[in-house]
């Protein structure tokens, strides 16, 4: 019984992750100005150890980033346990890939998101609750 439910949650998480990753990196590369809309108002981005909080700060941060070309190699996702986020369907998405920022060399990166489902009349909308990005080989 529990196992069957778990599998259902996993399938839901995988579909959400697949759709989200497509939307996120397309928006990041091509429609940068709309990117902050994917984040919850209370979301926090930790970008190579630098914390950015709040819609306005996120907009400024993404505006400041040079233009990008992301390539996704692997995506992993898990449903987050109810006990961690009560009454809020939540998914953990982990991405590994390469990115080239304008004026910089290509780099491998890891990024992980916590997405929460927002109720909507027509369909489920996933919003970013947290975002953590790190280059793989860029030590402090």
């Amino acid at each position: 019984m529990a196992s069957v439910d778990f599998k259902t949650y996993v399938d839901q998480a995988c579909r959400a992750a697949e759709e989200f990753v497509n939307v996120y990196y397309t928006t990041m590369d091509n429609r940068r100005r709309l990117l902050s809309r994917l984040y919850m108002g209370t979301a926090t981005l930790v970008w190579n150890g630098n914390a950015v909080s709040g819609q306005e700060s996120l907009s400024e941060f993404f505006e400041m980033l040079p233009s990008s070309e992301f390539q996704i190699n692997v995506v992993d996702c898990q449903p987050v346990h109810d006990e961690a986020t009560p009454s809020q369907t939540t998914v953990l998405v982990v991405i590994c890939g390469t990115v080239k920022f304008e004026g910089n060399k290509q780099r491998d990166f890891n990024q992980n998101f916590i997405l929460t489902a927002q109720a909507s009349p027509s369909n489920t909308v996933w919003k970013i609750a947290s975002d953590c990005f790190r280059f793989q080989d860029w030590a402090s």
Partner: protein, 614 residues
């Protein structure tokens, strides 16, 4: 001639007197300077005394007073024309009326104009002003410059300048390609002109500032200038948040301290920086600025002085500091105004490296970022230490108590077409069915483990490891009342099997709930394992000595693991150094402790061997 002599006498006397008094506070170098000055003045001493006596005589003899006063008044009028400084001496009604007439006449002859430039918030104000100067056909000096996010305002004197500025209207475009208008309107004299200091006051201010100037450092300390005893004794209200006071100060800096390198303006109740807009031109070599303990409310005030190439800046003690959620965002914001800054509030900022030169636009990385309480930070660090001590041990069964009953775990091996050969990672490929069919986009579904028994059972099948703790980078991603999400990345060494001695890179994400006030219970666990780049390996092991590397060959027993942990806790040394110490003493805990104590007493243990106290 006689009148001229009489005018000069009192000034020389006053100057000389001040020098003598000032010498009491001088350093050795300045004393020498005074002696030089004294030497040049000495031959005139007798004459100076004569002048002084004459002054006293005038004061004592009312009948003679009027005539000399009249003469002096004429002299001051001449000075006024020459120096363009208003002289206000209300000694009698006639003189007062004449001064009023003088002011009115002056106002009529040289009318003032107020210039307003509504340029919008995105406009670079410094750049815009440079454009105005270059396009204006008549050179001008803005008086009482003021700007906020939406517009620039200043005053100019002389109608020819006003007309020239009108001609520049709509000839400058903003970044959005909108033409910028310039409005010019007749105006009364600006505040700082109406409150301009007298020549005597300027002279007094100059003397006070010279006492505060360190010639060897080219440093000027104007901290709490309002309470300077010399200025207070002369009833001069030098309040630097007033426009006229700062204008006078900058004028003296330009004239007398052209090599100024460091300026301390702390504790002057500055609430905006409009009056410092000119400082770029008046103190072009300025590199160090102290604005601490003032009343600046937003970081945007720095926009007005961003033309400075500051290397050191103090801002602590201003309200603006508390507008940032944490120190790193505060630093980032200030670096936007002063990219060359190397020191903020007395703390060194990360130095530029070649990498930064290549990639100037990307934010600098931080080793770790912790928001919230120190308790969370310590809890995460302790958790990781405990977790990987068990993970690196012979048996991983001890992890069972750390996972939630219904936790889930997944392992991912990223496929990178340009990456190194992956065949050596077969230890992690047991369940990888799709590895031979790489896709641009690949989702792992098969490797999800559910329930703690399945997770720990699976972890026990993975290769044995020894994690390099000093390679860890930790991020707190997400935090709620009972939930914590954190990630850790770093390196580990495989210690058995065909891949023995191999170094791997990993990235791990944990989502945990607080089981009690001190226990973290894992509900989600995700692991990436990959081959590291040569740079990563070199970086992680740079601190360790070759001898230390040998310790990674050891396979420690559970008892030895506990000894390492206990030794590290008691000595404060990092785990790898604790392990080495115990190993060097053949795992005799007591003897290892004695050796450690002896070496520590002799201060022979390097600081980097110890854990970071931050």
């Amino acid at each position: 001639m006689c009148s001229n002599e009489r005018r000069q006498g009192p000034f020389r006397y006053t100057g000389r007197k001040k020098d003598r008094v000032s010498s009491l506070g001088y350093t050795g170098k300045k004393t020498n300077h005074y002696e030089d000055t004294g030497h040049t003045i000495l031959p005139s001493k007798a004459w100076g005394n004569g002048g002084n006596m004459e002054t006293r005589a005038v004061l004592w003899n009312p009948s003679v007073r009027h005539t000399p006063y009249s003469g002096r008044r004429k002299s001051r009028e001449e000075e006024h024309v020459e120096d363009q400084i208003h002289i206000t001496v209300w000694r009698d009604e006639k003189a007062q009326k004449r001064e009023v007439e003088q002011f009115t006449e002056d106002g009529t002859l040289e009318s003032w104009f107020k210039v307003t430039i509504p340029c919008g918030r995105k406009c670079d104000k410094t750049q815009l002003m440079n454009s105005v100067h270059s396009l204006c056909s008549v050179p001008f000096t803005p008086v009482d410059f003021h700007c906020d996010k939406y517009r620039i305002q200043f005053f100019v004197q002389d109608s020819s300048i006003a007309y020239a500025l009108k001609d520049v209207s709509y000839k400058i475009s903003s970044e959005d390609f909108e033409k910028i208008p310039i409005f010019v309107n007749p105006s009364v004299a600006p505040y700082s002109v109406q409150n301009r200091f007298t020549r005597e006051q300027m002279e007094q201010l100059k003397l006070a500032m010279k006492k505060r100037y360190d010639i060897s450092q080219h440093a000027l300390c104007l901290k709490k200038l309002r309470f300077d005893p010399d200025l207070m004794n002369h009833n001069i209200d030098m309040i630097l948040n007033r426009r006229s006071c700062m204008t006078a100060t900058l004028q003296i800096i330009q004239e007398d301290f052209p090599k100024l390198l460091s300026l301390n303006l702390s504790s002057n109740k500055l609430f905006q920086l409009d009056s410092l807009f000119d400082v770029v031109k008046k103190a072009p070599k300025l590199k160090i600025l102290n604005l601490s303990k003032n009343m600046l409310r937003t970081a945007w005030e720095l926009e007005k002085i961003r033309g400075l190439k500051l290397e050191q800046l103090w801002l602590e003690g201003n309200p603006l500091c508390s507008t940032f959620p944490d120190h790193s965002s505060y630093v980032s914001a200030i670096l936007e105004y002063f990219p060359q800054l190397s020191c903020l509030d007395g703390r060194k900022l990360p130095l530029s490296t070649g990498m930064d030169i290549e990639e100037p636009q990307l934010m600098k990385p931080r080793k770790a970022i912790f928001k919230g309480s120190e308790a969370i930070k310590n809890q995460v660090q302790q958790f990781l230490q405990d977790y990987y001590l068990i993970y690196d041990s012979e048996e991983r069964q001890g992890l069972l108590s750390i996972y939630h009953e219904q936790a889930c775990f997944s392992l991912t091996i990223p496929f990178n077409p340009s990456g190194p050969d992956l065949s050596s990672m077969c230890g992690y490929f047991k369940d990888e069915r799709d590895v031979k069919n790489p896709k641009e986009f690949h989702i792992q579904r098969q490797l999800l483990k559910y329930t703690k028994e399945d997770i720990v059972g699976y972890l026990r099948t993975l290769p044995k490891t020894l994690h390099v703790f000093n390679s860890f980078q930790v991020d707190i991603c997400f935090q709620m009342e009972k939930t914590l999400c954190f990630s850790v990345s770093g390196l580990f060494k495989e210690v058995e099997g065909s891949s023995q001695e191999c170094i791997r890179a990993f990235m791990r994400i944990f989502i945990a709930v607080f089981e009690s006030s001190s226990n973290l219970c894992i509900v989600n666990d995700q692991l990436f394992v990959r081959n590291p780049s040569p740079d990563e390996i070199q970086g992680a092991f740079a601190i360790s000595s070759p001898t230390s590397c040998s310790s990674f060959k050891l396979v420690l027993s559970q008892e030895q693991q506990r000894m390492v942990q206990a030794f590290s806790t008691q000595s404060g040394m990092k785990l790898e150094w604790s392990q080495k110490c115990l190993d060097d003493n053949k795992w005799d805990y007591t003897r290892a402790a004695e050796v450690f104590t002896m070496l520590q007493t002799k201060s022979k243990i390097p600081k980097e061997f110890f854990k970071q106290m931050t």
